[in-house]
Subunit: 301 residues, 2 copies
């Protein structure tokens, strides 16, 4: 076990390749032999032509790991040939670093040092976002990269003040640009509702969405999922310590009643911190337990 | 971290001393230097004059640890001088061994080998119970040791067929007898209800109790807790995989309504396996997650 002294970070880099597995394997191979690196999860999405690799390591290794992955991705992925639904800037599109036993400040420092080296050694433009943003407007990822500003548009925009990179050259090669930053753990959580009417889904998504006056730190979208013939409310909880999952589920249930529909099933995409699980238990059981009451946590940490 | 190959067991031995901490410390010291031993929890109860030590180790060390603790307890605790509310047989009263990454069969074999050595090397009578019972009637602890059959009564009873020990001599020294066995993890869980009427508490406890037609694998008792001026429903879940905590809480809530009372707060005594937490989450969130979705579990195991 990584003993308690070790400062562990989690990284969930997104790469603009979701169809050619062999390229993703090469990117993973590029960090396999770095001491302490542990691959936790891999999500390959052909529809979005995008892959997400989840791994952990000691903070002293994250810069080495990041440089190695970003360099490998740049050599394998040509943005001139890339297409997919999801907005994207570059071969390595986003590189989030999340504190586990390390502090957020540790992660901010490490992410900026990684950004500096990606710019100087790999000659790739870098935008720092979230907690690591060096320009206030860049704290929110959607303000940097969105449906209307992607790799193609950035070629010109990068020469403007608004889009001057935080590190690296102000021109775009075939590897595009990388968005790097430290951020809190994020929970990706979906709830299917008993309707195929996307309009109902959009209204419920809006009722829950922080931006529209719903739960703060909650981002929502509604999709019609052909395979299930059902509407899915797709959510990102950007601060699970403030917005507990039970609040989301109960509020969604209440909104469903307006339309005589109900939540059918919920699913977690990727991993969830144990505290988010404990919050739900404590609410429904009227208890007040902590991680120290969980057998496996006591045994393995 | 104990790597996945290591077969880990948990032990929660109960000792008949809850007032003189120094004796409990000596018992803990007797296993401190055994490789892989990790003390997880200590509960010292002066009212019952009884202590519970929770620890884990590799299964290859549990016999050494058990012998060392039982020998130390026998040298420090004189049952002739012991009194307390809780039924008890000996200095080391019960020695349960619980599978963590080891199998139940592994634990049954280890517990019987421990029992044999306690009998032959320490010359203390041993009764095997639960999964390790060598006589069917001894599977249930209450059939061996109860309010009416304790250390004092056992002095005579031990000479009868019914109470012939599974290992060791059929006479009782000042260390009494030890009850040893492998059993599944048990959850000790209490719910406080909004009344000071113990009669209501007893009725609710009975409605939930497996033996009285309630939830199978659930043992319940009602106590009036002076410090809280409230009734506490005290429960042991002997098989949490069959009897989930949400079922207990919801059924208790329904029974409370008969008397216009409600559950005020619930508390966990000792530790709980992560799967019991996940069961509750999955029920209320209509999800189907497993331990592999929990970040800390993936990182530390």
């Amino acid at each position: 076990m990584p003993d308690k002294e070790v400062k562990i970070v989690e990284a969930v880099p997104n790469f603009s390749e979701g169809r050619d597995i062999s390229k993703i394997e090469k990117i993973i191979d590029s960090i396999k032999n770095i001491e302490g690196v542990k691959i936790l999860d891999l999500n390959v999405d052909p529809q979005h032509n995008r892959s997400v690799i989840t791994f952990t390591c000691g903070i002293e290794r994250i810069i080495e790991a990041g440089l190695s992955m970003i360099k490998t991705a740049a050599s394998l992925i040509d943005m001139e040939k890339h297409s997919g639904l999801h907005p994207r800037f570059g071969a390595t599109d986003v590189f989030p670093i999340i504190p586990i036993t390390a502090s957020m400040d540790d992660c901010i420092i490490a992410s900026r040092n990684l950004g500096r080296l990606v710019g100087s050694e790999l000659n790739i433009p870098v935008y720092m976002y979230s907690e690591s943003a060096m320009v206030p407007e860049r704290r929110n990822l959607e303000n940097i990269r969105n449906k209307n500003v992607q790799y193609e548009e950035l070629k010109e925009l990068i020469k403007t003040d608004k889009y001057r990179p935080d590190f690296g050259p102000d021109r775009l090669g075939s590897a595009g640009a990388v968005i790097i930053g430290a951020r809190p753990a994020l929970i990706a959580y979906n709830i299917y509702i008993s309707t195929d009417d996307i309009k109902i889904g959009r209204r419920i998504a809006s009722a829950l969405r922080g931006r529209d006056g719903g739960l703060n730190t909650l981002k929502t979208l509604a999709f019609y999922i052909e395979a299930r013939k059902m509407v899915q409310i797709s959510m990102n909880i950007t601060d699970y310590k403030k917005t507990s999952i039970y609040k989301i589920f109960e509020l969604l249930s209440i909104e469903c009643r307006r339309y005589n529909v109900y939540p059918v099933e919920s699913e977690l995409i990727g991993l969830m911190p144990m505290d988010a699980l404990i919050d739900v238990f404590n609410y429904y059981m009227k208890s007040n337990i902590t991680r120290d009451k969980i057998l496996e946590y006591k045994i393995f940490t």
